[in-house]
Amino acid sequence: MLAIAIAGLLLHTYMFMRVGRSIRLVGAEHIWDVIITRNQFLFSELKYLPLLSGALLGLSQFIPEITNRRIKLTFHLPLREKTITTWMVGFGFILLTGLFLVQFAGLFTGMHLLFAPEIVNNGALTVLPWYLAGLWAYMACVFVAVEPTWRMRIPNMLLSTGLIRILFLSDFPAAYAPIPVLMFAGILLFVLFLWLSVFRLKVGRQ
């Protein structure tokens, strides 16, 4: 998690240094012109960072549980399996959401110092699906890792990849602004998928 946070910090620092340098070199008017008339988003390096962060956190949290068979011990704790999974996934989800909020706040504040509120709001709507993709990726990794059989893991991987791909179909700034509810609903969809994996693990499907 620390590595993910440091990677995020370095990338944000790099992006702001690059944009700041561009403003100094070509002037703010030109940069604003690029953003407004050519529909460019200047922080596109951020695109896959949340996705990778979510996937890495999910894998690093759950792969050792599965490969070291600790999940069996964990599921033997005197709690319902759903409660156990909720705690585990909830912990990762809150950690990831916290990190994303910090990154988002950093980006938002930084942009606010450089650009007009309309551009900042547009930027926020542009990065929103990327951050949600990070949360989807986290849930997808748990969904795939907890599934007890490779026969189902592979279709689960394909399904998850297909769903997450939806959030990267358009590079146009704020392209997903009309469907924020659907994007958040995607998290609930992955929660349902995750319960399915937990159920299959609990009843010992092989």
Binding site: N68, R69, R70, K72, L73, F75, H76, L77, P78, L79, R80, L201, K202, V203, G204, R205, Q206
Partner: protein, 309 residues
């Protein structure tokens, strides 16, 4: 097979049995390979039962089915009356589980793991845990991942003893342990289980450890359960016989298992008793005057029953 409510007479004690574990008509396959078919067994309260078998006979499979980690092809297992895979938290609290390889949260140190488990078990008793840890002379802040296999086994044992559970399930506890740690493990567990009247279900392929520990043995062979019996009854009846003869009798007409003839020396195993063996041999025209009957250790009896191969 021990059935619900049956009375068992063992070591002079008479007990009315209440079954803690019941498995009925279990059948399981891995692909086309049959692990067992129509396996039935029950484990009564207060008994220490060893599930013995060669590698690949389905010991860990049985533990996995019992704990709901594996769904059998057919049949069902129940613990404390609840179906495997659907155990309530209150039943899970009564079952302490040691997984094959002493799997633990190895990123924790012993102080952390003690605190972690204590929060889940209301009857948690930290005394046996720290007693065992003090024997190991390891620092409370040493991570479990940096311990030897023997030390990890003692941490796992300490945890299951401290849970104060009614049923202890231990899957191949002896794996990777040197003789000293195996003895320490067995002596500690045996003392604890007998003193506290706990039920223990244990698997191992190192049979010599089991003889010091278990009351009843279940012996699995490829595809079936060969035997479920109190160990003392098994060892009282199951004997090895040796005799000298240039010819071999028709083994199929005799109640023996795994007969072997090397030159003129014959060796076989049976639970039919010396008199029956002599009678069988004489009916086939053999002189049985040099027939020797030998008592066996559990390990020898296990090999006699399941064969060397």
């Amino acid at each position: 097979m021990i059935l619900y409510g049956q009375t068992l007479i063992s070591k002079g004690k008479i007990k009315t049995m209440e079954n803690i574990i019941e498995c009925r008509h279990l059948t399981h396959y891995y692909g086309d390979r049959c692990i067992y078919e129509d396996l039935n067994f029950a484990i009564a309260k207060g008994r220490i039962v060893g599930l013995l078998g060669k590698n690949g006979t389905g010991k860990t499979t049985t533990i996995n089915i019992l704990n709901g980690y594996l769904q059998p092809k057919s049949g069902e297992c129940r613990m404390f009356g609840q179906k495997a895979g659907r155990l309530s938290p209150s039943v899970k609290q009564k079952v302490a589980l040691l997984l094959e390889g002493h799997v633990q949260y190895s990123f924790m140190n012993i102080a952390q793991i003690e605190k972690f488990y204590a929060s889940f078990y209301p009857l948690w008793d930290k005394v046996p845990f720290w007693e065992l840890m003090n024997k190991l002379k390891i620092a409370p802040k040493q991570r479990i991942s940096r311990m030897s296999c023997g030390q990890r086994s003692q941490v796992a044992l300490g945890i299951i003893l401290a849970q104060n559970a009614d049923l202890l399930i231990l899957d191949d506890f002896s794996m990777g342990l040197d003789p000293g740690y195996r003895r320490l493990f067995v002596d500690y567990l045996s003392e604890y289980a007998h003193a506290e009247d706990k039920t223990v279900f244990v698997t191992s392929h190192i049979i010599q450890d089991m003889e010091r520990l278990i009351d009843d043995c279940m012996i699995l062979d490829y595809g079936k359960l060969l035997l479920q019996q109190p160990v003392d009854r098994f060892l009282d009846s199951f004997k090895r016989y040796r005799m000298t003869s240039s010819l071999a009798p028709n083994w199929e007409k005799m109640p023996v298992v795994h007969p072997e003839k090397i030159r003129n020396k014959m060796e076989f195993y049976s639970d039919a008793g010396r008199q029956t063996i002599v009678q069988n041999l004489e009916e086939q025209g053999f002189e049985a005057s040099d027939l020797q009957e030998e008592s066996l250790t559990l390990e020898e009896a296990f090999i006699g029953l399941t064969g060397k191969y």
